[in-house]
Point group: C2
Chain length 201, copies 2
């Protein structure tokens, strides 16, 4: 514990502060360029205090990536739960919410999307399963639309991936100070997704 | 010059080898986690030999980013030059080639897209101008399509950005060992782009 950080607060919100600090550091400098010392300093904690909560920066990345993916899957499932039974309506709500989530959480999303190769193998297995679940839900919507005759798509899996890809890439360029709001982007991309599947609405 | 690298070859291809080594290092570990020593070792050169060609890793990133963006703009312009005068045909060829380029050059594309914040200000100004030129060309195609009555788009600039975003995001997940070829992805995405602009073909 260095003398200049020993006076800093260590409240019950330390775990949340550590995760936020790790997201900032990973998003700005990348996982490999970040040290646990950097994260501790950003969180206003001593390296020893950080160690109490997180044994390593790899464990932190794993937690951020798992939680980020779980949240994204949760967004997709919540959208499906309230979108009714018609595939075009389902696709519209899923894409609107998924895109807005990636704009709103663009820093977490960048870390989650760009540091997959840095995940420890156990974390990666769990994250890959979550990614498959997200793609699977959207692929099912497109397949259901094709079967019901209200979408025209030859390769549902690839088109579902493209629709999600469009939402994910928003995290790369989204600027909270710019002209686009997460909600307006969600609406625009929902309309584009319906066009991509040639939906009869 | 360390003893264990002094024996390595230093042919006239050293500059190309250095750039390839820098792309590999930046793509795998990120710009901030890469040292000039890492790049020299990957290129089979001494740090001193690397310094002859490149004063800093920032200069290398600038060169990679400028050349990557120039190449991407070149792909767009070459596609337009051979696509004839009809906006839907232009959009089809541009998106097919732009997407295939991002699949084929996914490592360079990742560095170019994800390390924008690490660019020195002079490099960034040039890269921003190149990015605007790319978006501008595609926006013009969409606007021309709307004016000619063969595309239906309310926000040409945002839709052009989305179309390019779809191609760019291929670099994030493209796996050369996977089932998708750059050409097949290009064709698929060209078709999706025509749907996104509601092209009458």
């Amino acid at each position: 514990v260095s003398a200049d950080t020993a006076h800093l607060p260590r409240g019950p919100d330390a775990p949340a502060r550590i995760v936020a600090a790790a997201v900032d550091a990973f998003a700005e400098r990348g996982f490999h360029a970040t040290t646990t010392r950097d994260i501790a300093a950003r969180a206003g904690l001593s390296p020893a205090a950080l160690y109490v909560h997180h044994p390593s920066k790899a464990a932190l990345l794993g937690q951020i990536s798992r939680e980020g993916h779980r949240e994204a899957l949760g967004v997709v499932e919540a959208a499906l739960a309230r979108a009714g039974t018609k595939p075009p309506a389902q696709l519209r709500v899923v894409v609107a919410d998924f895109t807005a989530w990636h704009a709103r959480n663009h820093r977490v999303a960048r870390v989650v999307q760009y540091e997959l190769a840095a995940l420890a193998s156990q974390d990666r297995a769990e994250v890959v399963a979550l990614r498959r679940a997200i793609e699977g839900r959207v692929t099912e919507v497109v397949r259901a639309g094709v079967q019901a005759g209200c979408m025209t798509v030859e390769e549902p899996r690839r088109v579902a991936r493209a629709v999600l890809s469009l939402g994910i890439d928003v995290a790369r360029w989204f600027d909270p100070g710019g002209r686009d709001t997460p909600e307006a982007l969600g609406e625009l991309y929902a309309g584009l997704a319906l066009r991509m599947v040639a939906a009869a609405t």
